[in-house]
Point group: D2
Chain length 332, copies 4
C-alpha cells in the first residue's frame, strides 16, 4: 500500500477548490496521513482574541492538498474513506465573527443592525475522558462535552472551469460542515476534472447540527484517509456511506432547496440500490428519512438526507466500496 | 382525576384552530382519552383510491376538540403530556396529492409542470411485531418498518383574532408534523385566548423527518393526554420536553427562518434554565444542537432544534412539569 | 345608483379578513364613499412619538367594512374600481417599528440583534403642489415628493374557513401594499364566501416598491369605490387592471415564490385573453413582464407581474369590466 | 483617445470571470468597440432547434474580454459607460432549456417533475421600426415588440481567488440580466484583482424583468464602451447610474436577500451622496425606491433598487463620472 504523509507548512496552505497545483500525485488505494490546520489558520488561541483583530479573512479555512489521483476523470467517482480523525492540539476554539452566523445579519442577509458582540471560547480537550470543555463567560458554568471529531471541508475541484473558495459547499463538496463526516465513513464525490484534485481541512472536535454561530469547536486535526477511485460512475452530489446509514448532502439557498437536492439525490440512490421507480422511492423516503441540518451559515447552506440501513434490504453501493475500505482501514 | 373520553362523529370534526366552539370544558389535571380520525378523513382506504377522486380538500386533517381549559388566559402556557398513542386501525395510508409535497410544484412554489402521478400506498400494521409494511408498486419488495406513532397536529387557538386551517403550523402549534410529538413527551403551547381551545389530530403510525411527499403513514389514533396549565408563563413558540431532550419547533418560510425561530427559542430557553446570556447560549447551542427537520410541505415549514439533556446540567423547566406529568402518566 | 357613505367610528374598526359581521349589505353597482383610518389607528402623530410607546399592536391596520355583496358566491369574482383616493389629513406618518421591516431581524427572520432605533417622520401634505415632504433628522434636508395615494389593504374573506389578520396578504388580497392599487384601477378578487365580505384600509400617501422599513407615508384616506360582481368566474389570485396594464399580485415566502405565483397567474390570464398555450405565454411574458416588488415586510411578501397593454393585442378582460367601471367612475 | 476594436473568434471566447488571461491591456479612458456572441454561442438559429440537441452547456454565455485595465487595483472602482448597443444580427432567439427557468424545477430547486417541453422562438428584427417580432406557436399571433438592447453580463474578476462561471451574478457583477444595463448608463464595479479583468457578453435585444423562462431575446451585439477608473474608492456591489436614476444590483438567494443587498447598497450610496445617516436613508428609500426584478433564473437571483434623480437633491456620484463619460460618449 502506498502511504503518503503530509503536514503542509503555512505557505503550502490552499484556499480554494480548483485553481491550485497538486501537492501530490497519488494512486488509487493510497493511504494518506495528513495534518490540517484549523479554520482560523491557527490565529485564534485565547478568549481575549477578537476575530476582527487577529483573523485575516482572506486566509481562513486552509486546505491540505490538493491531491491528484491518477486515472481520475470526469464521470468517475472518488471514494474517500476516513480511517481516523484525531485532534492535533489539546484545545479547540470557537468565536462569533461580525456579520457571520445563522442568527446574525450577514453580507447576504443584508440588514441595518450593528454586529453582534465578538467573543471567543477556548475548549480544553481531555484525551482520557474524550471530552472538550465549554466554559461559559456570563455565568460560572463549565460543561464537558463528548469530543466527536469531524471534517468540515472535503471536496474536489469544481466543474465548469470554476475555482471556489474553501468556505463554500456545493456539488463538489467543500465546506459542507456536516457532523456526518466522521471516522469510519466513506465519502463519494463526483470527479469534475482530471485527477479529481481533492483536499480536506476544517477539523471540528465537535459541532452541532446547523453550526449556528458559524464556528464549531475548531481544531487542527490528524487525518487518516484511504483513497479509491470508482471508474465510469457519476455522483452528482456528495454521498456518505457509513456502516449504518446512506447519506446525501445538498448545498444551496434557500435551505429548502439544499434539502430538496439531498432528497432527490437519495431517491435516485435508492432507485440504483433497489430498483424502485422514483415514486416508490419518494414514498419510502417520506417514511424513513432522517433530515439533520449540516450548516445554515456558509455561502450555500447544507442539508442532509440519511436513511438507516437497518430499515432497508441488504444493498451494495458502488460495488461494496465502503465495506472494502472499512476492512482495509480496520487493519491499518 | 377528571377523565374525559371523546370520539367525535363525522359532523363533530373541526377544521381550524380558533373559530370553533369547544367540544368540552375541562379542568387542568384532566386525563383525555380521545380518538382522532386520519388526515384523509378516512376517505383513502385502498391502493386504487386516487386523492383527486376521493378526497374533499375542504375536509382534511380533522381535529378532535377543541377543549376549553378552565382558567387558561393569554400569557399562560398549556402543557399537554402525551401518555399514549395507539393505532386505532390495522392499516395506515399514504399518497401523492397533485401539486402537494416537497418535491413537487405547489400552489406556493407555482411552476408550469404537470402534476406528479397519484399513487396510494396502504401500510398493514402488525401489532405483535409493532411494524407497518411498505409495499413497493414498481418492484416486488415489501419492507417492515417500525411503527412509531406520533401526532402531526397539536395546537391552540391563534393570537390576533385569527382562525387558521388545521393544515397550517405556526406559533400556535398546529400541523407541525414533527416525529418528536410522540408518547412520553410534554408539549408546551402559549395560550392566546381564554380557555386555550386546543385540539389534536393527524395521527401518523410512522413519518420520516421532512415528510417529503406530504403524507405520512396516516392513521386513526387512540390518544391519551394529560392536560395541565402553567399560569403567568408565556411560551412564544411550541416547546417539547421528553425524558431525554429539550425541543423547540419553529414554523415559517423559507426553511432557514423556521429553523432560526427554533434556534432563538432554544437560546432563550437555555437562558431561562441556566442563566446564560444569549451569546453564551448561542455558542453552546452551536456545539450541541440537533436539527432534524419536521415538515417541508405545509403552508409553513417546520424545523426543530433539540438539545440532549445528557449534555446539559440538571435543570428544571416549567417548575418540573414534565417529570410531574410523566409520573402521573405512568400510573394511569 | 346606490351610494353608501361610511366613516367608521373607532369601535367599528375591523382587524381581520373574515370573522367580522358585515357593516353594510350592498348590491353590485353600488358606489362607496368611505373613510379609512391610517395603519397606526391614528396613534402616531408627532416625530417624538415612539411606536413601542404609543401603538397597540393588536389594533393596527384597521379596516373599513366588511361589505356583504348581494349575490356574491364562491367561484365568482368581485370587481372593485378605485374611483378616487384623497388624503383625509394634511399629514402622513412613517416610522421604524422594533423587529419589523425588510432590513431588520423580525419575529420570522429571528436573529439575536438589538432592535434598530425607533424614529418617526411626519410628512406634511401640500395639496396645491400635491406633495408630501420628507424631513431628514440626521441632516438639514427637506424633500418634496409627489403625493401618490394608494391603498395598502384591499381584500375579501379568505377561503377554508380562515380568519386572517389585516396585516397579512394572501390569495384573498389583504395587506398587499402595492403602489399599483391607485386611483383609476380595477381590482379583481375571487369570492370565497357568500357575500364576499370585502374591506379596505391602510391608505398610503406615497410608498416605494418593497416598502422597505415596513411603513409607508401612512394616512387617513377618503376612498371612492365602485363595486361590481362577475358571476361564475374564478380569480385565484388578485388581479389589477388599469388603462395601461394588466397586473397580478402573488403573496408568499420566500420572495421568489410570491413572484412565481404572480407569473403563473399572468400566464394563465394571457392564455384567457389571447388563447396562448402556457409555453407561448411563458415566452412572451419573459420578454414583456414588469416585475416591481410590492412589500418585503409583511407576514407574506407580495410581488407583482405587470404587462403593458400597449405591447399586447387588443383584449377584453372580464367582459370589459374595467372600461365599464372606468366610464361610470368618470361620471361620478 | 485610445480606441480598441475586438471581435473574438470562437476559440477566443471566455467562459468565466477570473481565470482567463487578458485579451487586451488598456488604459483608463479607452473606447472599446466590441462584438459579443449570443448566450447560445450562436448554436440556436431556428425554431426547430432543440437546446438539448444543439447546445453545449459547457460553452454558453461566451464573454468578450477580459480586459486588463492599467493601474486598476483592489479597492478601486471600474466605470464602464455603455455608449451604444446595436444588434449585430437581424434576429434573436429564445428557448426553454430543460430544468432551467423560474417556473421549472431546476438543479437547485430539485423536484421530481418531467422537464417542461423544449420550444424555440426566433425574433426577427426590423431595424427601421426598431422592433423584434414574437411569433406565437400555439395560436396565429405575431407581436412586434420594441427592440431595447441591453447587456446581460458585465463583470470583473471575483475576489477571494475565485473563478466563476459567466452564468453566475454576484458581487463582481456577472450575469445579472438586468434591463437597466442599457445604452447611456455607467456601470460601477469594485475592482478585486490587479487590472480588474472585466468582460462583457450576453446581449439581449429585449428582456422582461425577471427573465422568467431563463432566456431573453438573445442576440449577438455590437458594443461600444468607455472605460474609466476611479482610484481608492470601493464599490461593494454593482451600481448603475443613468441620466435619470441611481441603481444598485444585489445577487443572491433567496430573492429577498438579493433585494436586501441592493437596498443596503442604496442606503449607503444615499448616505455618501447626501450625508444621511442610515435610518434617514432607510426611511427615504422606503418612500422612493423602485424595485424591478432582474433575474430569477440564474445560480444567484438578481434584484434591483433604483431611485429617480428627480426625487432627490442634486448630487454627484463618483466625482461626476457619469456626466463626464456621457459627454465623451455623446461626441464619439
Amino acid at each position: 500500500m502506498d502511504v503518503v504523509e503530509y503536514r503542509p507548512t503555512r505557505d503550502q496552505y490552499v484556499w480554494t477548490f480548483g485553481g491550485a497545483p497538486p501537492s501530490h500525485t497519488i494512486r488509487p488505494g493510497t493511504l494518506l496521513k495528513l495534518w490540517t490546520e484549523d479554520a482560523f489558520s491557527g490565529r485564534l488561541t485565547s478568549t481575549t482574541d477578537r476575530p476582527s483583530a487577529v483573523l485575516d479573512m482572506t486566509e481562513v479555512n486552509p486546505q491540505t492538498g490538493p491531491f491528484f489521483v491518477e486515472g481520475a476523470e470526469p464521470g468517475d467517482t472518488l471514494a474517500l474513506h476516513i480511517v481516523d480523525l484525531r485532534p492535533a492540539r489539546d484545545w479547540g476554539a470557537s468565536t462569533t465573527i461580525p456579520f457571520f452566523g445563522a442568527l446574525s445579519g450577514t453580507d447576504r442577509t443584508a440588514l441595518l443592525h450593528e454586529p453582534l458582540p465578538e467573543r471567543t471560547w477556548i475548549y480544553e480537550l481531555d484525551r482520557a475522558r474524550n471530552t472538550v470543555a465549554f466554559q461559559a463567560q456570563s455565568v460560572d458554568l463549565r460543561l464537558e462535552l463528548p469530543c466527536n471529531p469531524m471534517l468540515g471541508t472535503v471536496g474536489v475541484a469544481p466543474a465548469g472551469r470554476e475555482v471556489r473558495s474553501s468556505l463554500v459547499p456545493d456539488a463538489f463538496g467543500g465546506n459542507m460542515d456536516t457532523p456526518e463526516m466522521k471516522p469510519g465513513v466513506t465519502c463519494y464525490l463526483g470527479v469534475n476534472v482530471e485527477g479529481a484534485l481533492f483536499s480536506v481541512g476544517d477539523g471540528h472536535y465537535r459541532q452541532g447540527e446547523g453550526e449556528s454561530c458559524g464556528t464549531a469547536v475548531e481544531g487542527a486535526m490528524d487525518v487518516t484517509l484511504l483513497v479509491e477511485l470508482i471508474k465510469n460512475t457519476a455522483t452528482p452530489w456528495p454521498r456518505i456511506e457509513s456502516d449504518t446509514h446512506y447519506t446525501v448532502v445538498g448545498s444551496s439557498r434557500p435551505l429548502e432547496d439544499a434539502w430538496r437536492i439531498s432528497q432527490v439525490g437519495m431517491i435516485d440512490w435508492l432507485g440504483q440500490l433497489y430498483g424502485f421507480d422514483r415514486l416508490d422511492a419518494y414514498q419510502l423516503l417520506t417514511q424513513v428519512a432522517e433530515s439533520p441540518l449540516a450548516n445554515v451559515v456558509d455561502t450555500n447552506y447544507s442539508a442532509v438526507t440519511k436513511v438507516a440501513k437497518s430499515l432497508l434490504p441488504t444493498g451494495s453501493a458502488y460495488g461494496g466500496m465502503h465495506a472494502h475500505l472499512r476492512e482495509i482501514g480496520g487493519s491499518v
